[in-house]
Amino acid sequence: MEIKGKAVIFGDNIDTDVIIPSKCLTTLDPDELAKHAMEGLDPKFYEKARGGVIIVAGKNFGCGSSREHAPIALKHAGVRCVIARSFARIFYRNAINIGLPVVECPSILEKTNDGDELFVNLTEGVILNLTKNLKLQASKLPSFILEIIGAGGLVEHLKRRLKEHGKL
C-alpha cells in the first residue's frame, strides 16, 4: 500500500479536542466534521488539506477522548495518512478502524519541513521524503492491521470475515 502527499506539520500531544471540538460532536456527517478539523490550532486547515495531505507530528498524537469523529474529520478533510513519533492508543485504533493509515516514525519531525512531498509504503514501513531525497524507516504494521486498512476499515474487514464463516 502506497500513499503520496504534502506534509503538514504539527507538534507533540495534539489532542482530540483540537482535532475536532466537542461542539461539533452532535453531527454524524463526515463532511460537516471535516470542515472543523484542526480548527482550534489552524482555522485554515480544511482549505489546506483539500486535495490530500499527510500530517506529520510529534509524540502522543490524538491523545484525549475516544471520539472517532477525530480521525473521521481528518480523513474527510483530505488527510491521507498521519505519521507521528507516537500515537495515543485509542486514536491509533480508531484511525485504523475507519481506514485512515497511521505510521510511527521516531525521526519524522526532524527530517520533514512543512510542504515537503512525502511517499509512504505501508507494507514495507518506509517513508521517502521526495523533496529532501531522504529515506526514513517507520514501524511496520502487523499484517492483520494492513488487512483492515486494505479493506477500507474494520466494517468491511469484519463483513468479509463474517461472510467467510457463513454468519452474514
Binding site: N13, G40, S66, I90, N97
Partner: protein
C-alpha cells in the same frame, strides 16, 4: 502474572499471556454514551448483523448532552432509545435514572472485579478501581463488539506505582494522580497499564480509587488498575447479584518498572493550561484570578467530593463575579447530597447546582467559557477549547482547591483558608 495479564488471559481463554502478545478476547461488558453510541449504532447497522451478541452485556447511558440541549442532541438520544428497545437492551439509563456513564457503571454493579470491560469513552479506565480491566475504544470498534462480543488487544506492559506516606489535610487522591501525571508526562504510560499499590492506595475509599484510575488515560495508559480488596468486594456484593471471581497480581508478577512515591510532603497540585501534565504545586499559581470554578465529572463528582466542597464553602459566599458550578456525577449522588443537606450548603454559598451530566467538563453545555476566561475545574482535561472557547484557560485541581478558589476568586490553597 499481574492482575491485568490475568484478566486478559481469562478473557481470551488462555492459561497465560505476556506483554506484546496479541489476543482475541471475549468482552464481559460494553458501554456506550450519547456521543459515541449513535455512531456505533450507525456502524453496527452497516455491518449487517441483525442482533447484538448479548443484550445483557451492553450498557447504554445518556450523559453528555442531557437533557437534550439542542434538536441535534435530541435526535441522537432518539437513536439510542430506539436501538435499546429494538435490541432489548435493559441496561439503558435515560435522563433522571443514571448520570455520568462511568459512575453509573460502577454504582449499578456493571463493573465487577476480574472482568474485561470496553467502553466507547476514554475514561473507561476508571473501572480499574474495582479490579476490572476497563479500556476505551471508538465507535466502529464498539460496533464490532456489539456484533461479535470480541476484540483484539495487545497485552500491555505494566508500570507499578507504589504509594506510601500520609496525606496532609486537604491533599488527596486528585493531587496524587496529578502529581504522577506531571512526573510521567502525557505520554509516559502510552500503551501501558498503571497499577497502583501501597498503603496510601489501600487506605483509600472507593471514590478516591476511582479518581486515581480515572486519570490514567491522561498519561496515555491503556488502563489504571488496583488489586481488589475487601472494600471493593463489600461494595460490589451490595450491588451485584452475579458470582464474582476477583483476580489479583501474583507476588512475583513482572512489571516494566516500579515507581515508589511518598505523599507526606505533597502539596495540593494544579494542572496548568493547556496540558494535563503541566502540573505545578498550588503555591506556584496561587492568586491567578478565575471566572469559573467547577466541581463535577467522572473524576471528582462523587459524594465525598461534594461534601468536601460543601465543608469549605459552608457559611461563606462565593466571590462576586465567579460562577461556581457543581454537577453531581450521578442521580444516586444527587439524591444523597440532597437528603444530607450538601446541596443546600453549596447553593446557600452561591453554587449553581446542575443535574448529573458530563456537560461543562467536556465543553458540551451547562457552563462553557468565553474568550479570555479562566476556569479552575475538578475534571480531567484542560486542553485548548475543552470547555468552550479555545481562548479560555483551564486549571485542574481537587474539589477542595476548586471550592477554596471559588470563595477567593483566585487560585487558592485550601489549607490556607
Amino acid at each position: 502474572m499481574n492482575i491485568s495479564e490475568k484478566i486478559l488471559a481469562r478473557a481470551s481463554g488462555r492459561r497465560e499471556v505476556s506483554p506484546g502478545e496479541i489476543v482475541e478476547a471475549n468482552v464481559d461488558m460494553a458501554m456506550v454514551n450519547d456521543i459515541t453510541g449513535p455512531l456505533a449504532i450507525e456502524t453496527f447497522h452497516k455491518i449487517g448483523v441483525k442482533n447484538v451478541w448479548d443484550d445483557n452485556k451492553i450498557v447504554m447511558v445518556l450523559d453528555h448532552q442531557v437533557p437534550a440541549d439542542s434538536v441535534k442532541s435530541a435526535e441522537l438520544h432518539k437513536i439510542m432509545r430506539k436501538f435499546a428497545k429494538e435490541q432489548k437492551i435493559s441496561c439503558f439509563y435515560d435522563v433522571g435514572f443514571g448520570g455520568v456513564c462511568h459512575q453509573v457503571m460502577v454504582e449499578k454493579g456493571h463493573v465487577r472485579p476480574g472482568e474485561l470491560i470496553v467502553g466507547a469513552d476514554s475514561h473507561t479506565c476508571t473501572y480499574g478501581a474495582m479490579g476490572a480491566f476497563g479500556t476505551g475504544i471508538g465507535s466502529t470498534e464498539m460496533a464490532a463488539v456489539f456484533a461479535t462480543g470480541k476484540i483484539w488487544l495487545k497485552v500491555p506492559e505494566t508500570i507499578k506505582i507504589n504509594v506510601s506516606g500520609e496525606f496532609q489535610n486537604f491533599v488527596g487522591a486528585k493531587d496524587l494522580i496529578l502529581s504522577i501525571i506531571g512526573q510521567l508526562g502525557a505520554d509516559g504510560a502510552i500503551y501501558k497499564v498503571m497499577e497502583f499499590d501501597g498503603q496510601v492506595i489501600k487506605n483509600m475509599n472507593i471514590s478516591e480509587r476511582l479518581t486515581i484510575c480515572n486519570m490514567a488515560v491522561e498519561a496515555g495508559a491503556k488502563t489504571g488498575i488496583i488489586n481488589p480488596d475487601e472494600k471493593v468486594m463489600a461494595y460490589v456484593k451490595s450491588r451485584v447479584e452475579k458470582p464474582i471471581e476477583p483476580l489479583k497480581s501474583d507476588e512475583d508478577a513482572k512489571y516494566e518498572k516500579v515507581i515508589d512515591l511518598n505523599v507526606s510532603v505533597l502539596e495540593p497540585q494544579v494542572a496548568c493550561p493547556s496540558s494535563v501534565d503541566n502540573v505545578k504545586p498550588v503555591s506556584e499559581v496561587e492568586g491567578t484570578p478565575v471566572d469559573q470554578a467547577f466541581v463535577g465529572s467522572c473524576t471528582n463528582g462523587r459524594i465525598e467530593d461534594l461534601k468536601m466542597a460543601a465543608e469549605i464553602v459552608k457559611g461563606k459566599k462565593v466571590k462576586s463575579g465567579v460562577r461556581f458550578i457543581v454537577t453531581p456525577a450521578s442521580h444516586e449522588i444527587y439524591l444523597q447530597a440532597l437528603r444530607e443537606g450538601v446541596l443546600e450548603t453549596l447553593a446557600e454559598a452561591g453554587a449553581c447546582i446542575c443535574h448529573p451530566t458530563c456537560g461543562a467538563c467536556f465543553g458540551g453545555h451547562m457552563g462553557l467559557l468565553a474568550d479570555g476566561e479562566t476556569c479552575i475545574s475538578s475534571s480531567n482535561r484542560n486542553f485548548t477549547g475543552r470547555m468552550g472557547s479555545p481562548k479560555a484557560k483551564i486549571y485542574l485541581a481537587s474539589p477542595a482547591t476548586v471550592a477554596a478558589s471559588a470563595l477567593k476568586g483566585e487560585i487558592t490553597d485550601p489549607r490556607r483558608l
